[in-house]
């Protein structure tokens, strides 16, 4: 049955060690192409490490990863990273203005991003276009997060990895970003993988959900699994007994 499903990213017995410490344990599973998959689990479950593997910033110690049915090692790393966009919770900014940061992906590829294009991107993520020339040091946490998302979108990735991008946003901003991501998914068919600590968000936004704990993929399936988990540990996590 699995063979008929279009898979954006597939993991086959993937393990990752940081020195002697095992971060990911034998992960096997896939993210469906064109869908939104939410990734939940307690801190230290290995979720961000999984994203770094998908973006090619690190390689698995054991096992294989395929992106669009092609072995990840067969890709040119720069091509892979433009195709599999990554927006991290830390929302690292380079010193300079918002515009400097937005045009960065194009500059790296030897191309230009016009001010008009940058302004459109800003409005898309719910920021005022007048912010373009503002220094990133003057931005709030939420604004930085939105600029980080906009910057990732500049590459027009086919797969978008979002790590806790709404955790520092207020409710209105969070709703805006959720709508934007859903629109990107529906209109452009971009596959979204979204790490969140907000279980309601995981259920509402996600088509599928992965639950990870201590480096293992404990349970996965339609996001409704969080309403009636089969695994005892997941049940405890959903009920807030495991943080």
């Amino acid at each position: 049955m699995n063979q008929q499903i279009d898979k954006a990213i597939e993991f086959s017995q993937v393990s990752y060690y940081d020195g002697s410490l095992q971060i990911l344990k034998n992960i096997t599973g896939f993210f469906r192409k064109g869908k939104i998959t939410t990734l939940v689990g307690p801190s230290g479950a290995g979720k961000t490490t999984l994203f770094r593997l998908c973006n090619g910033l690190i390689s698995p110690t054991q096992g294989n990863i395929t992106v669009n049915a092609k072995d990840i090692n067969q890709y040119d790393p720069t091509e892979l990273r433009r195709n599999v966009g990554l927006a991290l919770q830390s929302a690292t900014m380079l010193s300079g203005t918002v515009y400097d940061n937005l045009k960065l992906p194009r500059t790296l590829a030897g191309e230009m991003l016009t001010e008009e294009e940058a302004e459109i991107l800003l409005t898309k993520v719910g920021l005022d276009k007048d912010m373009l020339k503002r220094k990133v040091t003057d931005l709030s946490g939420g604004q930085r997060q939105k600029v980080s998302i906009a910057r990732t979108l500049v590459n027009r990735p086919e797969i978008l990895l979002l790590d806790e991008i709404t955790s520092s946003l207020d409710r209105v901003s969070r709703d805006d970003i959720e709508k934007l991501i859903e629109r990107i998914n529906k209109e452009f068919g971009v596959t979204i993988i979204w790490i969140t600590h907000n279980l309601n968000q995981a259920i509402q936004i996600g088509d599928d959900t992965w639950v990870m704990m201590k480096g293992e993929l404990v349970e996965y399936g339609p996001s409704s699994l969080l309403l009636e988990p089969k695994d005892q540990r997941v049940k405890q996590f959903v009920e807030g007994e495991i943080k």
Binding site: N55, P77, T78, L88, L94, T152
Partner: protein, 248 residues
């Protein structure tokens, strides 16, 4: 100057020893070791140079330069321990800088191809190159650590290792060059360079001493720039693997 006169100069060692003991600075042992080492090392170099100048054979000049490069490499490599293959990168840099500067000096007949000129100038060039390498490596390794997130951000957006490390590399090169550029701005105003002072004390014409000092200053400026840039461009690729991932 006789050895008896020189021994009187040890008074200048007794003063810091006395101060260290009185103020309990705990520097007595290091001061004594440094004094003994400098006496032995410099006297040994003096005798070796006397022999090399008298022998006037190319092989001895070469051996002296190899010795200088080996010592400079040994000293500088500790600062770049986190960079793979740093020993050979330093050796290549020192050899290149030495060959370039001596090539220009001898090639353009600025200085004669004699041991009396080659060895002291090599000492200054390699010594300066070593200090620059240490300054560069110190700053570069610190930059890599502090800018790790930025480096990975650029990689994650599809940048190449060269693009990702660009800012750290430029910052480290600039920082290592600042001391020499700044010291050249005030030279002669704040302090007289050691070599020029030595020549004047030894009875040389001050103008001739200045001319030679200027030559050395310009030489050291080239040495500094070439050392930092070459070491930087030799070092950064080893921070990444073939998958363009930043190594720990």
């Amino acid at each position: 100057m006789s050895f008896l006169t020189l021994s009187l100069a040890l008074v200048f060692v007794l003063i810091p020893l006395f101060l260290s003991k009185t103020l309990k600075l705990g520097l007595e042992k290091d001061t004594i070791i440094a004094t003994i080492r400098s006496i032995i090392q410099l006297l040994a170099v003096g005798y070796v140079l006397t022999f090399v100048f008298a022998a006037d054979h190319f092989i001895y000049i070469l051996l002296m330069i190899i010795l200088m490069i080996t010592a400079a490499t040994h000293n500088a490599r500790k600062k770049g321990a986190t960079i793979r293959g740093i020993t050979w990168k330093l050796v290549i840099t020192f050899v290149f800088v030495e060959a370039l500067t001596q090539g220009i000096l001898i090639g353009f007949k600025i200085t004669p191809a004699e041991a009396q000129y080659i060895i002291p100038i090599s000492g200054m060039v390699i010594g300066n190159s070593m200090v620059l390498s240490i300054l560069f490596l110190n700053r570069f390794t610190a930059e890599i650590e502090s800018r790790r997130d930025e480096t990975e951000l650029i990689l994650s957006l599809g940048g190449t290792p060269k693009q990702a490390i660009h800012y750290s590399l430029i910052t480290a090169i600039k920082a290592s060059l600042i001391p020499i550029v700044e010291s050249q701005k005030t030279i002669g105003l704040v302090q007289l360079p050691g070599m020029m002072s030595g020549q004047i004390i030894a009875g040389a014409d001050p103008i001739q001493a200045v001319q030679f000092q200027l030559l050395i200053l310009f030489l050291l400026l080239t040495t500094a720039a070439v050392t930092s840039i070459m070491l930087g461009f030799l070092s950064y690729p080893t921070l990444f693997n073939t998958r363009m991932q930043l190594l720990k």
